[in-house]
């Protein structure tokens, strides 16, 4: 493993994804600001925009950093340089995840600040939002492993669509859950056991998906 090569590849990809990454970060922050506007519809529109920007960021970054590299044959160029498949895989998976985490964390962090400083905000809603954001992160990791295994735009979109459907079912399930649904109206931030169990499942899905993505990537026999 060559840590210098990994760092160079990571920075190169971070630079290549700078526009979508910051575009979605700005879009996400604007969505958070919309929730500050008066009226319930502002909350709803802001929330829908946040989810949309997060899902779009995932598709866009996987497309730019992963799928385009194999479809446009730029991977042949990169792998002709003194880079091993292990170096390439570590750099590639890390950068895709980091590029996604920048707008994702930006939105979650600004929401956290807003919940604690905005007058009338209910701190309990943060636990609810963390469950939703982790679900979106898990969905992104599943798209990532699909893109790596299939190198197909079509199959990746299928997983995006399935993830979107599941997200809506998940949101409905949380809203109907007797314990979780109460969190949105709670004046105190709390983490009931059921919320921690859901977080543990989401964390497991994320770790397994990233592990599989890495495993499939380094086992690839042909790079062109």
């Amino acid at each position: 493993m060559n840590s210098q090569a990994i760092q160079i590849l990571f920075l190169k990809d971070l630079f290549l994804s700078r526009w979508p990454m910051f575009g979605y970060l700005v879009g996400g922050l604007l969505s958070v600001m919309i929730t500050c506007l008066p009226g319930e519809s502002a909350d709803f529109i802001g929330f829908i925009l946040m989810v949309t920007f997060t899902i779009a960021a995932g598709i866009h970054l996987i497309g730019v950093l992963l799928l385009a590299e194999s479809l446009d044959m730029t991977r042949t160029f990169v792998m002709s340089l003194p880079v091993s498949l292990l170096d390439y895989s570590i750099a590639k998976i890390s950068v895709v995840v980091v590029a996604f985490l920048i707008p994702w964390l930006g939105m979650l962090a600004s929401l956290t600040v807003l919940i604690f400083v905005a007058p009338g905000a209910k701190p309990g809603v943060l636990a609810f939002l963390v469950l939703l954001f982790l679900f979106l992160l898990a969905g992104f990791c599943l798209q990532l492993v699909t893109a790596i295994v299939t190198e197909s735009v079509g199959w990746t979109i299928v997983v995006v669509v399935l993830g979107n459907v599941l997200f809506n079912l998940f949101l409905k399930m949380l809203n109907e859950h007797p314990v979780i649904s109460k969190l949105t109206k709670s004046e105190v931030l709390s983490w009931p056991p059921v919320a921690l169990q859901i977080i543990a499942i989401e964390a497991l899905v994320i770790l397994v998906a990233l592990g599989l993505a890495f495993m499939f990537q380094i086992r690839r026999r042909d790079l062109v």
Partner: protein, 306 residues
């Protein structure tokens, strides 16, 4: 068959392929043995789909063979190996740069991975090729894109150049510019070059040694001059019932009435006498161009396979 792309001597081979086999759905690279001597220029000629690119990709670790071993510049090659690539410059016609970025971006990226990067030479090549560092890749013509990629390879002063169809699709001026640059590089005897093309003229211009590949097999390999000397075409007037003498490597090419055209791949001075004494009248004995040799070798190889 072990194909040595030059006369064997004490030096370690620049590249050594042994028993390489790779199967795809509609193509199979079949038991390729290849040895490339250091400091030589080697041409790999074959029709489209012959297996030239696959061999080169295997040498770069971009494709893993099903069987066989590869070592390049003394390093075993696989996708897990990066050290040999420090001294290899690989160009492929289907390789692409980042289209939304500039030539300067690619300079900086490649330079950061190569301590051997020669900035002065890079700037000289930039000027000589008429390229502008700030220009985005998506605005480059095909010729400019090829020159940019060659520049990125040459400025790091690799010991081994693996060039897969570098002149493909270039206009005559761009082709000459690229070939001239390669000619200068091949004058440096410490450099080894493996150059593939389906254009025999390009390969003939710069290669010391030539290998013909067809349908995933090496069908002939020799020093360029020996290739040209050992192949001959004979035109003979011969009666209908004439039997060609048993000369090793003599094959009929075509027949027009009493005119027989034959090719030979192991020419020796006494062959003409043997043909004359067989009852035929020798009209001409001609040297063949590399392209003619290539076509004849491919057709022979296919016949033998059948």
């Amino acid at each position: 068959m072990i194909t040595t792309l030059n006369q064997p001597h004490q030096k370690t081979a620049a590249a050594l392929l042994r028993g390489i086999t790779k199967s795809y759905k509609h193509f199979r690279l079949n038991n390729i043995d290849l040895e490339i001597e250091p400091g030589t220029v080697n041409g790999l000629i074959g029709p489209n789909g012959a297996g030239k690119s696959t061999i080169m990709r295997i040498m770069m670790g971009l494709v893993t063979p099903d069987q066989g071993t590869v070592s390049v510049l003394g390093h075993p090659i696989s996708s897990r190996e990066a050290s040999a690539k420090q001294d290899i410059g690989y160009f492929s016609d289907d390789m692409r740069l980042y289209k939304s970025e500039s030539i300067a971006f690619h300079f900086q990226f490649v330079r950061s991975l190569f301590p051997s990067w020669d900035e002065d030479y890079a700037q000289q090549l930039l000027k000589r090729f008429g390229l502008i560092a700030q220009q985005k890749v998506k605005g480059l013509s095909h010729g400019q894109r090829v020159k940019t990629m060659l520049l990125l390879i040459l400025a790091r002063r690799p010991k081994l150049l693996i060039l897969d169809e570098p002149t493909n699709g270039l206009d005559p001026v761009a082709k000459q510019e690229v070939l001239s640059e390669l000619m200068q590089i091949v004058n440096d005897e410490t450099r080894t070059v493996l150059y593939s093309s389906h254009n025999t003229q390009d390969v003939e211009q710069i290669s010391d040694t030539i290998t013909f590949i067809d349908r995933g097999r090496v069908i002939a390999s020799n020093n360029r001059d020996e290739f040209l000397e050992s192949w001959r075409r004979f035109k003979l007037q011969a009666p209908h019932n004439w039997q060609a003498p048993a000369i090793d490597g003599l094959r009929p090419e075509s027949t027009f009435g009493n005119l027989r055209v034959m090719t030979l791949d192991r020419y020796q001075a006494e062959v003409e006498d043997r043909l004359q004494s067989s009852g035929a009248t020798l009209e001409s004995s001609e040297a063949m161009t590399l392209e003619e040799i290539f076509v004849a070798a491919v057709l022979r190889g296919r016949e033998e396979k059948q």
